[in-house]
């Protein structure tokens, strides 16, 4: 649209066509692995082993999915993942919301240190901590337990969520509450009826963020949940592939398993991503 305003029209058309083609090619490259996962999940094993792959769902079947679900491992991992993710989301939302309220509505001694700690801590890699976390959990007999790993997840997710919610809370002017109080509401009523509804989008976005973090997490789960019976879904998928590798990988089933994990996440993600992008780089954009 910008660029060569004075270039001859034909050249501009050719350039537009070239860029458009590039754009479509890039789109195809990025979406292909996702497409290939879903396509393979619906393709019978015989066609996946064929010497020429099929690029369209010509023989779609759900047999891969039923095989995966028959195994039973999926249901138990799903239950574990739901428990861990549920606890994490609820605890993170409650803790982070209270902390966000404190740092955006009050100025108090120690506030700046807290904000600094929150920002710094969210950068720490799991790889630099997981051996100590493993020793800690094994010391208090919380390996393989929902509680143990949830504590680690809450601590890992709270910092960014505090930061994210801080923006939302600061965006609701306290004058609104005060106006409601002038109109005769108590402080609590004013908060619940005025401020809270305005914060709902922020809470939803933070909740989905916490969900994604806990649902997808692999590194900490690997050390905190060593036995097979307590695996979360990412650990189960890895195990499923390894087990399948012993008898020549059945990629159709493995892709069905991957799809089962990925599809709910993709749905949630599309819902929240706008907020996440702006949260991560907003400091730079506003400068």
């Amino acid at each position: 649209m910008s660029a060569v305003a004075r270039a001859p029209r034909a050249r501009r058309r050719a350039r537009g066509l070239l860029l458009g083609t590039l754009g479509v090619v890039a789109a195809l490259v990025w979406v292909f692995p996702v497409y290939w996962m879903v396509l393979s999940a619906f393709t019978p094993a015989a066609y996946l082993r064929a010497s020429t792959p099929e690029f369209l769902p010509l023989h779609a079947t759900t047999v891969n999915f039923s095989r995966v679900l028959e195994g039973g491992g999926f249901t138990s991992a799903l239950r574990m993942s739901l428990a861990v993710t549920g606890i994490t989301v609820v605890a993170v939302l409650a803790f982070a919301f209270l902390a966000a309220l404190a740092i955006s509505r009050w100025r108090f001694r120690g506030r700046r240190s807290f904000v600094l700690a929150v920002l710094l801590v969210q950068m720490l890699p799991a790889e630099g901590l997981f051996i100590a976390q493993y020793k800690m959990l094994s010391g208090v007999h919380l390996l393989d337990s929902v509680v143990g790993i949830s504590v680690l997840y809450v601590a890992a997710v709270v910092p960014f969520t505090v930061w994210m919610l801080r923006g939302f809370v600061a965006g609701v002017p306290a004058e609104l509450e005060e106006a409601a109080m002038v109109d005769g509401l108590s402080r609590t009523q004013a908060f619940l009826r005025i401020t809270f509804p305005l914060l709902a989008p922020g809470l939803v976005a933070s909740g989905v963020y916490a969900f994604l973090q806990a649902w997808n997490e692999f590194t900490v789960a690997l050390v905190a949940l060593p036995s097979q019976s307590s695996q979360t879904l990412p650990l189960w998928l890895r195990e499923f592939l390894s087990a399948s590798a012993n008898r020549g990988v059945d990629w159709g089933q493995v892709m069905a398993a991957s799809s089962l994990i990925a599809v709910p996440v993709i749905v949630f993600f599309l819902f929240v991503q706008g907020r996440m992008t702006s949260g991560l780089v907003s400091g730079a954009v506003k400068g």
């Binding site: 910008s2 692995p33 799991a126 800690m136």
Partner: protein
Amino acid sequence: MSNDAALGVPARTDGDPTPPAGGPASAPAPRRRRRPVAPYLLLVPAVLALLAGLAYPVGRQLVMSVQRYGLEQQFGQPPAFVGLDNFTRIFTDERLWAVVLRSVVFCLVNALLTVVIGLALALLMRAVHTAVRLTLQVCLLLAWAMPMVAGVTVFKWLFDYRTGVVNWLLVQVGLDGFRDFSWLSQPFTFFLVATLVIVWMSVPFVALSLYAGLTAVPEEVLEAARIDGATARQQLWHILLPMVRPVLSIVLLLQVIWDLRGFAQIRLLQDAGAPVSETNLLGNFIYELGMSRQDFGGAAAVSIFVLALTVLLSWPYVRTLLKEDA
């Protein structure tokens, strides 16, 4: 100037007359000279969670790094204090430095590739027709949304030596050497696949962030440049890039920090039978020391090194964010 202040949202002092620290409005004498208690109470749950899940392990790690975990400790003896022995032992081990070098090179290559490709896609999105742009945006989002473990698993399928579509494609275009080519069993091609996975996963965030930055460049500025006769290339180098530089540097920094991790992707790819000692990154080295060899002292020493490195690298980013917290 932070956006909040620009919007006129004041720092609140709800329920307590203590004014913002150091603010010019602190003139009216407070009725009660009491510190606000509420904010501290509100912070309690978050602080407790951070103490239990992060601060305690960090402290424990510091202690572990000066203790010995040998054979006797596996049989229940309490670990003995050994001073800085773990550090001297680990940091004079050339295997560690091989891993550090590999991690740094891998991290820089991945971060640069990600940012360059992300910038190219962001500029492309600006230049193409809306329909193409939306298609590209949706495709990038789908890739970004893939859970990491699922993403790596799909790439293992794409690069499967027997029936993977990549080898099939390469054979089709005449590169017959790729028939049954096993990508993951030798270090160079292993890292090639690892780089593809990580770049594929990371580019969407970079491209979409930079695109958001590019759309913030006012059209009038570019219009004015065009009237003055600036070519497309001049507009790119003298207007667009300087104006997105803040976002660009933050995104590059974040990529460097994130790509220094890579434990999970490498671990999952190693499952396919890669030579572990030649493909380990820092995180994998720590995992092997701690979990496989039970050398918790050594693992803690390397972990502290990784944490220190991260804090050092993160500092500029944290400072930018802190500025926003007016």
